[in-house]
């Protein structure tokens, strides 16, 4: 009997003809259900096809995307499987604020990167000072656990916590991102990876900086939204 990597309880993973070729389960039934609860069901609800925002009844064009496209080059597609709610919120808090790095194993088994033939995968950076204080970078550790080849091409400076600011304020602040390495990105297909997608301003600020390098297409992947 294996231990669940999320709640550490022993659970039974049946071994039979149906499960023979499947990878062994990492999470117990209860924890799997918790993840099931926060899974985004794209077909059931009316959502923006680009940023997956839940659309109001009267909203035919996503206002968020329209707002972003005024200022920034818009991403091609957001990929995200989970709501920022329930177990995701709880784990994210334990991971980023309590600094429980072991949670990255749980994220790594649950998250699936989009398949697209990406040329470069770039994580959204945190300020160096925050990484130093935390002793790890939340996004990069998960990517390492998922055995993804990524390239950290961006740096950012310390700025007020995004979660404390309103949307208007976030948009008005100037772009904190800088390109740190010289790399040839011309005509490349890029995937940006971040932990939480709320207004999209953070990701699009990064896109704005990178698009100077004549990138062909941007996709974005986040753990939750």
């Amino acid at each position: 009997m294996p231990n669940c990597i999320q709640c550490h309880k022993l659970f039974i993973d049946p071994f039979n003809a149906l499960t023979f070729y499947r990878r062994p389960a990492q999470l117990c039934e209860q924890c799997t259900n918790q993840w099931e609860e926060i899974t985004l069901k794209l077909t059931l609800q009316q959502r923006c096809s680009k940023c997956l925002k839940l659309l109001e009844k009267a909203e035919s064009v996503c206002l968020d995307c329209a707002f972003l496209s005024q200022q920034y080059p818009l991403m091609h597609q957001l990929y995200c499987d989970f709501k920022y709610d329930g177990i995701m919120k709880q784990l994210m808090h334990q991971y980023k604020f309590m600094k429980d790095v072991a949670i990255s194993d749980v994220f790594a088994t649950r998250l699936r990167l989009p398949r697209g033939p990406y040329d470069v995968i770039i994580p959204i950076p945190s300020p160096y000072e925050r990484d130093l204080e935390r002793t790890f970078n939340p996004v990069e550790v998960v990517l390492q656990k998922m055995k993804v080849n990524y390239e950290q091409l961006l740096v950012t400076r310390v700025r007020p916590k995004q979660s404390l600011l309103g949307k208007q304020l976030r948009a008005r602040l100037d772009n904190p991102f800088e390109i740190s390495k010289s790399a040839d990105l011309e005509n490349k297909y890029v995937l940006l990876v971040d932990d939480i997608y709320t207004t999209g301003i953070t990701v699009h600020q990064a896109i704005a900086k990178l698009s100077v390098r004549k990138i062909r297409k941007f996709d974005v992947f986040t753990f939750a939204r």
């Binding site: 329930g86 334990q94 309590m98 600094k99 429980d100 790095v101 072991a102 160096y128 990484d131 130093l132 002793t135 790890f136 550790v141």
Partner: protein
């Protein structure tokens, strides 16, 4: 007390170390004292160029790792007046126990208080707490259950109006200096050699019985000379055997001098997917009699499926379980009388008091005898409504059920012999 370096003001410092240290080739956490390898997690931190190890056992109280320093401050004492108000007189039995506890404290003895449910355990400790505060002893009242901590905390705050009481659980911040604390056992990890007088309510509740490091936490939080009082209505055998017979105080009567309600057994097979009229009739009767009903289940899934069936017919129906996000709100609403029937798991088996309450246990063959005694003990706890109904619906009587009933009847008989109840 374990402190963050940044929060210090004028405290005397006992010791400065990293959060975990290596002893005999093993990591030992300075907060929860665990040395089990599975409690530690390590990773490589590129920005420090170092391997970082930290303890996951007590991470909810702040991460203990091998790089950040923690400061252990010296324990201080502080004398306060320890005045309390009680709106009623202690019963003969409560007085007896209250004096016994006070004597135990004066001699720094440890005692088990084996008192039936609804004996008025909380009131019995007031006198000893008051004495302890006058001597400047640091007092902690702890319990493994959050619900018990909240309920006891309210009652203590109500009685000791002038004291500075810290109530600590989950994310509750500490407001005072920790001389008088009501907390979950986990919170004691933060205190080292600090308390003179520790009262453990519901010692036999989960997770205290399952987790030996929590028992150690109580010991580490206490000074060298200490008085521990363990209170419960269902002491586990191991605890009774560990203590000498003269250190066990048995209290067999309730404070209102009425006997404990004895459970009724009835055969009933619960079908989770259909409405059964015996149940709906039973609920109707309860509502007509204006009684509140707690319905206990052994399984959350079963409870939810029953809820979805009966909520169509009964308006004031709710359910609550441990991982419920609205758990505290629901329990509070229940206290205010917003629901007439509440489906629950064993989380409400302890520390819940309400007038005009009856209980029903479904599939009682699957419950432990201590749980059944506690559940039966929810009924008739108030002076104005000392009676009620306890119904065990079973699919076959088990020894555990018989033991629960035998224990309850034994206590009633004992109380009768001592003249502590009027029958």
């Amino acid at each position: 007390m374990i402190n963050d370096q940044s929060k210090l003001t004028d405290e005397a410092i006992e010791n400065v170390t990293t959060g975990i240290i290596k002893q005999n080739k093993q990591w030992v956490c300075q907060q929860c004292h665990t040395s089990r390898p599975e409690h530690f997690y390590s990773y490589y931190a590129p920005m420090l160029n170092k391997k970082v190890v930290y303890c996951r056992n007590c991470i909810s109280l702040g991460r203990m790792d091998n790089i950040n320093q923690i400061v252990i401050t010296k324990s201080k004492r502080n004398i306060s007046q320890g005045i309390y108000q009680l709106s009623f007189q202690l019963s003969e039995q409560q007085l007896f126990a209250s004096t016994a506890i006070l004597n135990a404290l004066k001699h720094f003895d440890s005692k088990v208080l084996y008192a039936v449910t609804g004996a008025g355990k909380t009131e019995m400790i007031f006198e000893a707490i008051s004495y302890a505060r006058q001597q400047g002893y640091n007092v902690a009242i702890v319990s493994p259950r959050v619900d018990v901590v909240i309920e006891v905390g309210l009652r203590i705050q109500d009685a000791f109006k002038q004291e500075q009481i810290d109530i600590l659980y989950q994310g509750q911040p500490q407001r005072y200096n920790g001389h008088f604390v009501v907390a979950t056992v986990h919170q004691l990890y933060r205190f080292k050699c600090h308390f003179d007088f520790v009262i453990v309510d519901e010692v036999d509740a989960f997770p205290l019985t399952m987790d030996p490091t929590l028992m150690d936490a109580i010991k580490h939080a206490s000074k060298q000379r200490y008085c521990h009082i363990f209170m419960t209505a269902t002491p586990p055998k191991a605890l009774l055997q560990k203590m000498k017979p003269e250190h066990i105080i048995t209290l067999s009567a309730r404070f209102h001098r009425h006997p404990l309600p004895v459970p009724q057994f009835k055969y009933f097979k619960l079908k989770p997917h259909t409405m059964q009229c015996r149940i709906s009739n039973l609920f109707k009767q309860q509502i007509d009699k204006r009684r509140y009903t707690l319905v206990f289940f052994d399984n959350i899934k079963l409870m939810k499926s029953c809820y979805s069936i009966y909520k169509t017919q009964f308006e004031h129906l709710a359910y609550v379980y441990s991982e419920d996000t609205l758990r505290f709100e629901k329990v509070n609403d229940l206290r205010l009388g917003k629901y007439q029937i509440v489906f629950t798991t064993t989380i409400l088996e302890r520390g819940f008091t309400m007038a005009h309450l009856d209980v029903i246990v479904f599939r009682s063959q699957n419950f432990e005898s201590s749980a059944l005694v506690q559940i039966a003990g929810r009924v008739g706890r108030k002076r104005e409504a000392p009676n009620g109904r306890v119904l065990f619906l079973h699919e076959g009587i088990t020894i555990k059920m018989l033991k629960a009933r035998r224990d309850i009847m034994h206590m009633n008989r004992l109380a009768m012999e001592k003249g502590w109840i009027d029958a």
